[in-house]
């Protein structure tokens, strides 16, 4: 249980904290546009890696 909470809360923090920081620039361009500044690379490379692993697992294993 705790093992799942820690990465989840950490990841949530990485999206919420920029959202708080950039709220002063408006909801659309500030919050919406910049809330993924910290988590963005995690999402991009994490999802890309999982797609590659999925392709390998589906067709080659």
């Amino acid at each position: 249980m705790l093992g799942s909470l820690i990465p989840i809360t950490g990841f949530a923090n990485s999206i919420v904290s920029p959202a708080i920081e950039y709220k002063s620039e408006g909801y659309v361009m500030g919050v919406g546009g910049k809330m993924f500044t910290v988590a963005g690379p995690v999402l991009v490379f994490g999802i890309s890696a999982s797609v590659i692993v999925g392709i390998i697992a589906t067709f080659f294993v």
């Binding site: 919420v16 904290s17 708080i20 002063s24 910290v38």
Partner: protein, 334 residues
Amino acid sequence: MNRIGKQTLCLDKKPLILQTASIVGPKEAQGPMASYFDHCLEDEFWGEKKKKKAESKIIKETVNLAISKSGISSSSIDFCFAGDLLNQCISSSFGLRDVNIPFFGVFGACSTFVESMTLGSIFVEAGAANHVICATSSHFCSAEKQFRFPLELGNQRPPTSQWTVTGAGCSILSSSGEGPRITHVTPGKIVDMGIKDANNMGAAMAPAAFDTLMAHFEDTGRKPSDYDAIVTGDLGYIGKDILEDLCKTKGYNISHNYDDCGVLMFDKLEQDTHSGGSGCACIATIFSGYFYKQLQEGKIKKMLLIATGALMNSTSSQQGESIPGIAHAIAIEA
């Protein structure tokens, strides 16, 4: 006024520092220098909802305070030199838009305070102005937002990092009146020794401070012991050690009368500020609050003030660039 040596100007009329003012945030108010500042804020946002507006309010009120302490009217001030760390120096320009004084926006990163005093003193010396305001500010929250990570993220800070001072300092230079006088200015060159670690400003800026210090001593023929105090802006604990070592390589021992405002500003053990304070306001508030009083009271008769800056922006490090440093020096006599 005439140039001596490579890059020092000797000011014959010696513009005087008529008055100063300093306002700091709550963390600085808990530090060892707290009693020297004019005003300590309980809340770093000072009632404002946005960080940049808070920084603008701090520099505006600091300038107003300096003017009211000086006894001269703002209409008799000829020019204002101001700058800060934020993009396009908006803190200064937005903060000072109502002062109604011809305005020069200046950027030297954390060297801005002495850069503005250098330019201001040249204006006064040349007869272009009778009274000049030199002001600068920084704010921990707005600097972190621009250069580093969101505050709520709670990111770990390495031991080499420094804490951006929240506050503003202002000095009014004048052609007449009573006050400590600026006798020499040594503008610095940009010095880049290839430091790429944006979390180690002290190491990036120390070579520039060394370059300017050596130029000042060689141009003026002076030595470290000629000064009661040699003070740098924000090299911090690490940069301070590096500068002392660099000076020893050229046969100059500055350890007896040298200190750094980044080291003075905070209590290292109690306040968890790692390598010390930084930001434009570090030297601006400590000079305007502490050293100015020491000069007025005659406890310091001759000092060399060197502000140090790291000329980078929020993306240059990510692009693989190193961090160029700069340092400007002014010699002041009581």
